[in-house]
Symmetry: C2
Subunit: 349 residues, 2 copies
């Protein structure tokens, strides 16, 4: 599997570290830096083709040595929240910018993955790989049948931002999914782990569970290249004990008046005043009004007593400072090698 | 840490595998078999001293080579759900049967751990070790200050049965807890991981995250020695995809009319008719009535359309058959050694 990955994405280093396609937060600088450090950086496709075109043009300009890449493939990926996206509007952008991978997630129904996968393969002449994110074993089996993704991303419930309302963490979800894919006749599809991984111990654990690489979101939110407010980033550094200081909820979508998420999704964020007020019985209308009133406060509207949306995974407590994306990739990779080579604690067994 | 564990519990093999103190399910035969296979088997202390006395007498009779153990220490442990237990009623039982460890969990308030720890150390003359189970980083730091446990068990949210309503999985919780304990001046306390671990990949991942050993509950529920109905065990083998087929809820306590759990606890169980009816708006009174009416059906009252309480963790989908406790310990341990010694996948990095 490792050789399959390095053949397909010839610039990567192992272990494969991927930055998640986080809407607005995943800037061209973040995606380009992650890929240039040997990972795979993702942009978020959003819903507006013209904006994605601009993001891709910008990212392309940041990638050095493009000429050394085969077939003019841009060594980054683009991720879509499929429920809100129009395939036929986006398709010309895929045609214009041939990216290494397009990551599909959260369709209205799983069958919607099929036309996306077909179109991506058709316009890219097979050069763009199709990645699909799932949160359960049964989703993994179903999407393999429907769309034959080149890569499966298995997201556990510890992940920050959007994901399934109900799922397991990768500790059990990853090995069960690997076994089920193998039993169903898909032993060779690379499986990446996401959710709760922010540093080398998490990466090494995910690989031990059978993952072929990892995705990190929250860790890259706390990168110098991330397109998020300073107030949010300060929270990522301040907050500890993510199991109790973050929670899964649909409140953030309601505050932002985002309508249309399929109902089995919600999002994990750092809890703040909006969550507390909701628990105390505040109506959505009033919560939204208070949220909007605070928008103008900027960075001050983050924190325990703030109301801003502050997505983060349970691993947030392991983040001590903002770093450049390249440092994050290098340090995580280095730490994983140390764990693998310096006889690990269980080598005593 | 490994040498500390083998010095303290001289019969164990590494990696340390512990069977959780599951009320009624953790029989004398289960506890004795786990310890004799090189793990540490736990009984559940319950609330009635006379019953615990009987369980311990029975377990003691099952342990071979008792005479080879130092200081007459019974090579098993006993676990308590502290909120429902009377220390002074239980203390004479600790005095009569000196067990290797007493595991404390879920007190009305964390400060209640202190008199328990003092009494256990006093009546056993320091021979019985104090283990404390936590579910957050802050609980781990607090209990170290309050009671200086000899071992910390860190339970992630994937665990079956009772645990914190809100917490992280061990993928982030374990490394953050290890770091926090070290930073607070407790670098040497052994930390065991629980929650979602049912086989060797989970054990190897937990050790990679920094755990000094693991606890398995659900896996031992599906052992030949477990004291649970066949209907429950069939469910453990049937059910897949534990992230969606199990969920955390207080329903099981309400069905059993168990009163007194501190409100920040609930339990993870396989969802069945009782959960579905509750979601559809059925009152507790009616749900309890239907539950009681089905009790007489025995094993048939388990399953999708049954109403029996069927605790299980998210790793349930990795369980394929019931095995003897010794097989479980041996096979998990063997598999972990294979992962550790056969260059693991990430050794390619």
């Amino acid at each position: 599997m490792a050789s399959l990955l390095t053949r397909t994405y010839p610039w990567i280093k192992l272990p494969l570290i991927v930055s998640a396609p986080m809407l607005n937060a995943a800037t061209p600088a973040l995606a380009a830096s992650v890929s240039q450090a040997g990972g795979i950086g993702f942009l978020a496709g959003g819903t507006k083709p013209a904006e994605l075109d601009k993001l891709l043009t910008k990212t392309s300009a940041l990638i050095f040595s493009k000429s050394r890449l085969r077939n003019g493939i841009l060594p980054i990926g683009v991720g879509f929240q499929n429920w809100g996206c129009d395939l036929h509007a986006m398709s010309p952008v895929f045609r214009k910018h041939c990216v290494a991978a397009i990551w599909l997630f959260a369709p209205k129904q799983l069958a919607d993955f099929r036309p996306w996968a077909e179109e991506i393969r058709s316009v890219s002449q097979g050069r763009t790989q199709v990645w699909i994110q799932v949160g359960t074993v049964s989703e993994a089996l179903e999407v393999m049948k429907l769309a034959r993704p080149n890569v499966i991303v298995v997201q556990g419930t510890d992940a920050g931002g959007h994901g399934l309302r109900q799922s397991a963490s990768i500790i059990s979800l990853l090995p069960e999914t690997k076994d089920a894919l193998e039993a169903a006749g898909y032993p060779h599809v690379p499986v990446l782990a996401a959710g709760g991984i922010v540093e080398s111990r998490g990466v090494a654990a995910a690989l031990t569970l059978g993952a072929d690489g990892v995705v990190m979101g929250t860790r890259f939110l706390a990168s110098k290249e991330a397109g998020i407010p300073k107030g949010w980033q300060n929270e990522l550094i301040r907050v500890k004990d993510g199991g109790t200081t973050t929670k899964r909820s649909t409140l953030c979508d309601r505050l932002k008046e985002t309508v249309g998420w399929p109902e089995h999704y919600d999002g994990r964020a750092i809890t703040n005043k909006g969550h507390l007020d909701e628990e105390a019985g505040l109506s959505d209308a009033e919560n939204v009004r208070l949220y909007k009133a605070e928008l103008k406060l900027g960075d001050e509207a983050f924190g325990n007593h703030g109301r801003m949306v502050t997505y983060a995974g349970t691993g947030v407590g392991l983040i001590k400072e903002a770093k450049s994306a390249a440092e994050i990739v290098d340090e995580t990779s280095f730490g994983t090698r140390l764990i693998a080579r310096k006889s690990p604690s269980y080598a005593q067994v």
